[in-house]
């Protein structure tokens, strides 16, 4: 069953590329929309040429430094944003006064479209990786923050009382009850926050940089080289899929204690 599904999925992918090729290759079909046979290829690119671009990137090794930069930005934005979100989420979750005081500001900061901060970060941090990391951090932070904040509020009062009766001090409660509980919420938002870190990195690169896959796309666009733009998009998509797989693997390892739906329980 699973193999057959794989087969159909691969066939669908091939069909999409096939259709794309047939619709854009000059002079293959009689012109329908445009009179000029090269017009479709100009707007939509040609898959074969796109694959040639990708092959050249990997054969010449030109793509690796760009991928590496994008990966670094994504990873840094994810780690810094998650740690900040975890720390501040824990703090506000445990300090009712501070959370009431800051509540409207947090709502406002979250509502703001943070991509507009990108130019400011470029002024502050330059065109290197840190302006992209900063943008990614602002995106990741709020996802993690809200999850941790909620997680702290929803720690089971019975588990807390039990730990207290077992002799946990306030610090031990933080370390052994609040933190693990909050961390599990961070992991439950892992897919979204890694995705956001990636968005921050690519958008940052696109708006101004000297390296990274976003930069490659931006340069190609400036030269109306649509095949290279699509090549960049495809590489980014595959890259994002690989990241997502890595996150799923990490999640599986780190959340073994979580109940899985449908898992049987041994009876005594």
């Amino acid at each position: 069953m699973k193999r057959r599904l794989w087969f159909w999925q691969a066939l669908l992918l091939a069909a999409i590329f096939g259709l794309w090729h047939v619709a854009t290759a000059p002079d293959l079909l009689p012109p329908i929309v445009w009179d000029n046979p090269d017009r479709a290829a100009f707007f939509f690119g040609e898959p074969l040429k796109m694959f040639v671009v990708i092959r050249d990137w990997f054969v010449s090794g030109e793509i690796y430094p760009h991928l590496w930069v994008t990966l670094q930005e994504t990873a840094l934005a994810f780690v810094i944003g998650s740690l900040l979100g975890l720390a501040i989420g824990l703090w506000l979750g445990l300090t009712p006064f501070a959370s009431m005081l800051l509540d409207p500001y947090i709502k406002a900061a979250n509502a703001m479209p943070r991509v507009v901060l990108a130019p400011i970060f470029m002024v502050w941090f330059g065109l290197g990786i840190w302006s992209k990391v900063a943008l990614g951090v602002t995106l990741v932070f709020f996802i993690v923050f809200f999850n941790v904040y909620q997680g702290v509020k929803e720690v089971s009062p019975v588990v807390l009382s039990n730990a207290t009766m077992l002799g946990a001090s306030r610090r031990q409660l933080l370390r052994h009850v609040y933190l693990p509980s909050a961390t599990s919420w961070v992991f439950s938002s892992l897919h979204t926050s890694v995705g956001m870190a990636f968005v921050g990195a690519v958008v940052g690169e696109y708006l101004g940089s000297a390296r990274g896959v976003g930069y490659l796309i931006h340069m190609a666009e400036g030269a109306f080289d649509i095949n290279t733009v699509f090549a960049g998009i495809l590489v980014l998509t595959v890259f994002a899929l690989v990241l997502d797989f890595a996150v799923s693997a990490a999640e599986k390892r780190l959340l073994v204690w979580r109940p899985v739906q449908g898992e049987t329980e041994p009876q005594l």
Binding site: S156, V158, V159, N162, M165, H176, W257, R258, L268
Partner: protein
């Protein structure tokens, strides 16, 4: 000799959830448990039984009245007591073994010796070899055994148990009750056992305290259970003396249970 736990004129008043007014859960409760005594507290549902236990544990400060532990006034958490909760209380991110070692860890005991002790306790509650399971991988009865080990490993002098077995099926429940009695008879700790099940109360205890329906719950009767020990909880229920005691206590309780039932019904329908 001072009693292990004594509540003197304990009253607990809460601000009502609706905002206005107050709700008095328990009023002027006097209760004393001697060293090594097994006392059950029974009463209709929602009568403030858990409130009393939380007061004895130091988790809740009474609005008025005093709590004394072996003659000393209680300040803060009751460090001599172990508490077994009605709801799930294990830390889900810790394995069974790590849950049992938690108390020792909080007290700063070395990891290796804590582990060795915990393995011993898991064996005593019949869970040898289940140490690396996480709570969600255990059945309800097994989780209660872990809770029991988690509490007993700290060797508390006083056990506070809040309907610990109420979520279990009847068979598992009687098994657990027998095991509890066996563990208890080994070193006779003082126990306050909260339950709404009169049969459970009688079969386990030296003394049964009956509470009135809430609000302003207070004890309305005390019965000494003179059944011989060691007991088997399922067999002792068939003895004439048990039935006699059950009749007597049930007769006293019945009115309160009906009152409590009527109140809950009014609350939900109103």
């Amino acid at each position: 000799m001072d009693p292990a736990v004594s509540l003197e004129k304990v009253t607990c008043t809460f601000a009502a959830k609706s905002g206005e007014g107050h709700y008095t859960a328990v009023k002027d409760v006097d209760l004393a448990i001697a060293g090594g005594e097994f006392v059950s507290v029974v009463g209709p549902t929602g009568c403030g039984k858990s409130t009393l236990l939380n007061v004895a544990a130091g988790l809740l400060r009474p609005s008025s009245g005093a709590v004394k532990i072996h003659g000393e006034p209680l300040a803060g958490i009751n460090r001599r007591a172990g508490y077994m909760f009605q709801a799930e209380s294990l830390m889900p991110w810790r394995s069974a073994l790590a849950n049992v070692t938690a108390g020792l860890e909080f007290r700063g005991e070395e990891a290796a010796s804590a582990r060795a002790k915990a393995e011993g306790w898991l064996e005593r509650v019949g869970l040898a070899g289940f140490g690396d399971r996480y709570p969600h991988q255990l059945s309800g009865g097994m989780r209660k055994r872990v809770s029991l080990a988690q509490m007993l490993i700290l060797d508390p002098q006083i056990l506070l148990m809040d309907e610990p077995f109420s979520a279990l099926d009847v068979q598992t429940r009687q098994l657990m009750e027998n095991e509890l009695l066996e563990l208890w008879s080994a070193d006779r700790k003082s126990v306050i056992f909260i339950t709404h099940d009169l049969e459970e109360a009688i079969s386990l205890s030296d003394r049964v305290v009956v509470l009135s329906a809430g609000p302003a719950t207070r004890p309305i009767g005390e019965y000494v259970i003179d059944l011989p020990r060691p007991r088997d909880v399922s067999e002792i229920r068939l003895t004439p003396r048990f039935i006699e005691l059950h009749d007597r206590i049930w007769h006293a309780m019945k009115g309160e249970v009906l009152k409590g039932y009527a109140q809950t019904r009014n609350r939900t329908s109103g």
